[in-house]
């Protein structure tokens, strides 16, 4: 198994960050091709043909999402680039923005052309100071070269792109909260329907796409949907950026074709296995908001559908590994702590339940849990499951319930012995 570099092909070349360097490597040819040779619908069709699925975590087919944008609607349309990368362990959009920002901008312009948007906002995680700077600089350069702004490349197509830094809330990576935040309001997710493609930013049709998704679009238009679909495997076409972190020898971002091996092989081959050499106790295959896989469950093919079948998700491609030097109970507590801290507080079950779950896990970690606490935790998390506006509550339910099921003896060992 080895890397297939499409998005990261020139990432190691510092010149790639500049417009000149990017163009030298064939940059903005896809845009020129689309604007001069393709109709907007052709662009969408090419993306449909590519089989591209969103890289933010949910894996929704990108072409289908674009098709939800109503036609003949007189309202302005928007593209919102979700660059709020905050799922624990995820660090791949950052690489694109810092090392090859123009491919994201080019993909954004292609998406705008396809759906008829005239303004795009790049909502970048506030902590990503360098990304904000490089993307802003890239936009400036592109604007100066008539690649962003009015009558791009002398055509009728106009689209401006603006950077909007976030202020550090995890919830703002949720697409509707991102839009609320962009509007200048408190970053609360909104009820769906209406979906953003119909009523998004300022109640206008809005496509929200992840950075990596848009970077893929650039290559799809440049080299064709069928070419992209020939990479990877059915259901997980193209290449994906995987950020491997945790107790591994070589943490980092790797560009891989899905389905070309097992999760264990990915961790062994690219990250070199555990740093300590100790056995892997568990892995989050796609960010901490999905179910944990135990060390003996890693022989699953790494593609969206296979990992889903194994009861977890490839999510945002953040593979987080922990060996047996830590207690599973502590890992679960760490996860719950993060989500309890990040719950926006809007929906009752998440606002009140998240901290309750955290407190109960703390009691396990302290070895002071009561008999029946495992059942209580299962019941409380059940009542948070699917009962809220956004998926943050589920991001507590999935991992915590998986820990309780898969590491039950470890949890039972934390129940205080009654001495009286």
């Amino acid at each position: 198994m080895k890397e297939t570099r499409v998005m990261l092909e020139f990432a190691d070349d510092p010149a790639q960050r500049t417009l000149e360097g990017y163009r030298g490597n064939g940059g903005y040819q896809a845009l020129e091709k689309a604007l001069k040779e393709m109709k907007p619908d052709d662009v969408t069709e090419e993306v449909v043909k590519s089989g591209l699925r969103g890289r933010g975590g949910a894996g929704f087919p990108t072409g289908r999402k674009w098709k939800f944008v109503p036609k003949g609607n007189e309202k302005p349309k928007y593209i919102a680039v979700n660059a709020d990368e905050s799922e624990p362990g995820t660090c791949k959009d950052r690489v694109i923005m810092e090392q090859d920002p123009h491919q994201m901008l080019e993909g954004t312009l292609l998406a705008a052309y396809a759906v008829g948007a005239t303004t795009a906002y790049v909502y970048i995680r506030g902590e990503y100071m360098e990304c904000i700077a490089t993307v802003e600089k890239a936009i400036e350069e592109a604007r100066a070269a008539n690649l962003v702004g009015k009558n791009i490349l002398g055509t009728d197509f106009s689209c401006d792109i603006w950077v909007h830094p976030g202020a550090g809330a995890y919830i703002c990576g949720e697409e509707t909260a991102l839009l609320t935040s962009l509007e200048g309001n408190r970053g609360y997710p909104r009820i769906k329907p209406p979906f953003p493609a119909v009523e998004g930013l300022w109640r206008c049709p809005t496509v929200v796409n992840n950075v990596e998704t848009l970077a893929c679009v650039t290559h799809i238009i440049k080299r064709g949907g069928p070419w992209f679909a020939s990479l990877g495997c059915e259901g997980s076409t193209g290449t994906r950026l995987f950020g491997i972190s945790g107790h591994v020898k070589r943490p980092g971002v790797y560009e891989l074709e899905c389905g070309k091996g097992t999760l264990r092989e990915v961790i062994e081959t690219f990250a070199g296995g555990t740093l300590s050499g100790r056995p892997i106790q568990g892995v989050f295959p796609g960010g901490s908001s999905f179910q944990v896989l135990k060390g003996d469950e890693l022989d699953v093919r790494f593609d969206i559908d296979s990992v889903a079948k194994a009861g977890s998700s490839l999510g945002s491609g953040a593979i987080a590994v922990f060996d047996d030097s830590v207690r599973a109970v502590d890992v679960a507590l760490n996860v719950a702590e993060f989500y309890a801290h990040e719950s926006c507080g809007q929906c009752t079950p998440c606002r009140e339940g998240a901290d309750w779950v955290r407190n109960m896990l703390q009691r396990f970690a302290d070895g002071e849990a009561r008999k029946g606490d495992i059942e209580l935790l299962m019941d409380v998390t059940d009542k948070m499951n699917g009962t809220t506006i956004c998926a943050l509550a589920v991001a507590i339910v999935f991992p915590i319930q998986s820990f309780l099921r898969k590491f039950r003896p470890e949890f039972e060992a934390c129940i205080a012995k009654v001495t009286a």
């Binding site: 009820i191 329907p193 990040e342 926006c344 507080g345 339940g353 901290d355």
Partner: protein, 512 residues
């Protein structure tokens, strides 16, 4: 759609036809089912944050919130399935784990949705064994509202009301997760003249009224469905009293008048009803006198003044029935100069009307002219004067031009015969509100058991001066029936048609 803008769906096995475009909560009402809800309010935007209105909709993989699920033909909804009840119990449990459970000292007790739904859907025990979150308590939001963050369930009804209805957008949310708390922007004091509506729509005891706080438990109070008389709008209200004292007013829903709201001024304007300085018995020549003596004396004065002319000045705070009786008396006495005083002030775009009285329209319909700025240069043998409750009075100079004075007033003042007025909450009757809508007042308290209403006094006066006068009406309803027969504008109306929601006058050239 099953035609006529209706949609037919099945709720808990019962087929119902409801207006298209409503949500499942409203549709369930038609089926006689209450889907519990906190954040949903029919007049505010839907945010779907409380999650207690979860229902099951066949064909949907997960439970849906009733507030954001819009009816479709053929939809099958379950509001009481095992799963729904389990999730509701879950939401109740979540709501209560950090709630202080201080019902014993909370004004909301008795009209609290947390209490109601806890009884219906709560488990009765707590499984939460951790310290509750500590949040700000007893926070003053200005002169009228007190906020308790620990009781707050963050439904954001107050936030949305102030933004969407009052237009002041002055409350927001600070912090996040279970530390979330409401804050008033700027200096922390509310400014909206409609701010007290947030107390009514707060489903829990987080927002309480400084005016009403700790005055009475609800179950010791009496409630009267009446209207507010502070301006011509006639906002429908429920007036709460105890021991014959007015304690509070809250709006009563009437989509044709005030919808769900009322202004703070009207809500807080009732002290005059409880005023201990009020006149409690008639006075003749400055001395207390029983009604028969006062009526006899007044009748004699008015009879005696017939030849020299009588000036009758009605009050726009009188009911139509009182004005009708006054008209009858004026007719019997041959009174030519019939006027009423109309207090005016500022209005606004929402509810507040510039006419600061409830019944200027009724007075005009019954033949009284609005008092002129320049009174005719003449003198009268007698003045029959109903002093407006507030906002207007006759000039001193004019009072001097009447030889004798029969005055009806709330508070003691100079007159040959002085008769106490009753306030709007001490009698039944009707008024003509803005938009020419006839609305009903209802008796809620008895200020002083011996007080007679103006209608009764007027009818006795009439009997004293007019041998032809028939038997007076026994009740306001009867008096209204006679009025309708006598005054064409009231046309086909009946006491029952006016009901508690009011009815428009027959005449259509409505004045705003």
């Amino acid at each position: 759609m099953s035609g006529n803008g209706k949609v037919t769906l099945t709720i808990d096995g019962k087929e119902v036809s409801v207006p298209a475009g409503v949500n499942v909560i409203e549709a369930a009402r038609h089926a006689g089912k209450l889907v519990p809800h906190y954040c949903y309010h029919p007049r505010l935007s839907v945010v779907g944050n409380c999650r207690i209105c979860l229902v099951e909709v066949e064909g949907m993989p997960v439970p849906q919130i009733g507030c954001n699920t819009w009816v479709r033909d053929g939809m099958v909804v379950h509001t009481e399935s095992e799963k729904v009840l389990r999730l509701r119990e879950g939401v109740m449990e979540f709501l209560l784990i950090n709630h202080p459970l201080d019902c014993t000292i909370c004004d909301q007790a008795g009209e609290c949705k947390l209490q109601d739904y806890a009884v219906d859907h709560g488990s009765g025990i707590t499984r939460h064994e951790f310290e509750k979150t500590k949040k700000p308590k007893n926070v003053s939001w200005g002169d009228r509202v007190v906020f308790d963050s620990e009781r707050c369930i963050l439904c954001t009804r107050c936030v949305r009301f102030l933004d969407e209805v009052a237009g002041t957008d002055e409350v927001g949310i600070d912090q996040r997760g279970d530390s979330s708390t409401l804050i008033v922007k700027g200096d922390g004091k509310l400014t909206s003249p409609y701010q007290m509506n947030i107390i009514d729509i707060c489903p829990v005891g987080a927002l309480t009224s400084k005016d009403f706080r700790f005055k009475s438990r609800l179950w010791f109070m009496q409630f009267t469905h009446t209207i507010c008389t502070s301006c011509a709008r006639g906002c429908n209200v429920i007036l709460g009293s105890r021991d014959n004292r007015v304690l509070r007013m809250v709006p009563r829903v009437n989509p044709d008048v005030n919808d769900h709201w009322m202004c703070d001024f009207g809500r807080l304007h009732y002290a005059f009803a409880n005023d201990p300085e009020r006149l409690a018995a008639p006075r003749v020549a400055g001395k207390g006198a029983p009604y028969p003596v006062a009526v006899q004396r007044a009748a004699a004065l008015l009879e005696g003044a017939r030849g020299q002319g009588i000036l009758a000045v009605a009050s726009p705070f009188m009911t139509n029935e009182e004005l009708h009786s006054l008209k009858g008396l004026c007719d019997a006495l041959g009174v030519e100069d019939r006027y009423f005083l109309k207090p005016v002030g500022e209005g606004d775009d929402l509810l507040v009307h510039p006419e600061k009285c409830p019944n200027a329209r009724g007075a005009a319909l019954l033949g009284f002219a609005e008092a002129p700025a320049d009174w005719p240069e003449k003198e009268w043998g007698a003045l029959l004067y109903f002093v407006p409750r507030e906002g207007a009075d006759l000039p001193e100079e004019l009072l001097e031009r009447a030889k004798k004075k029969v005055v009806f007033a709330l508070r003691p003042r100079d007159a040959d015969v002085l008769v106490p007025l009753t306030t709007w909450i001490e009698k039944d009757g009707t008024v003509v509100s803005a938009g020419d809508r006839v609305q009903r007042l209802s008796k809620g308290i008895t200020f002083e058991p011996t007080l007679l209403t103006e209608r009764v006094v007027l009818d006795r006066l009439r009997a004293a001066v007019d041998a032809e006068a028939g038997k007076a009406a026994d009740t306001a309803a009867q008096a209204f029936t006679r009025l309708c027969a006598d005054v064409p504008a009231f046309g086909e109306l009946t006491w029952a048609k006016v009901g508690l929601q009011g009815a428009p006058l027959a005449r259509q050239e409505a004045s705003a």
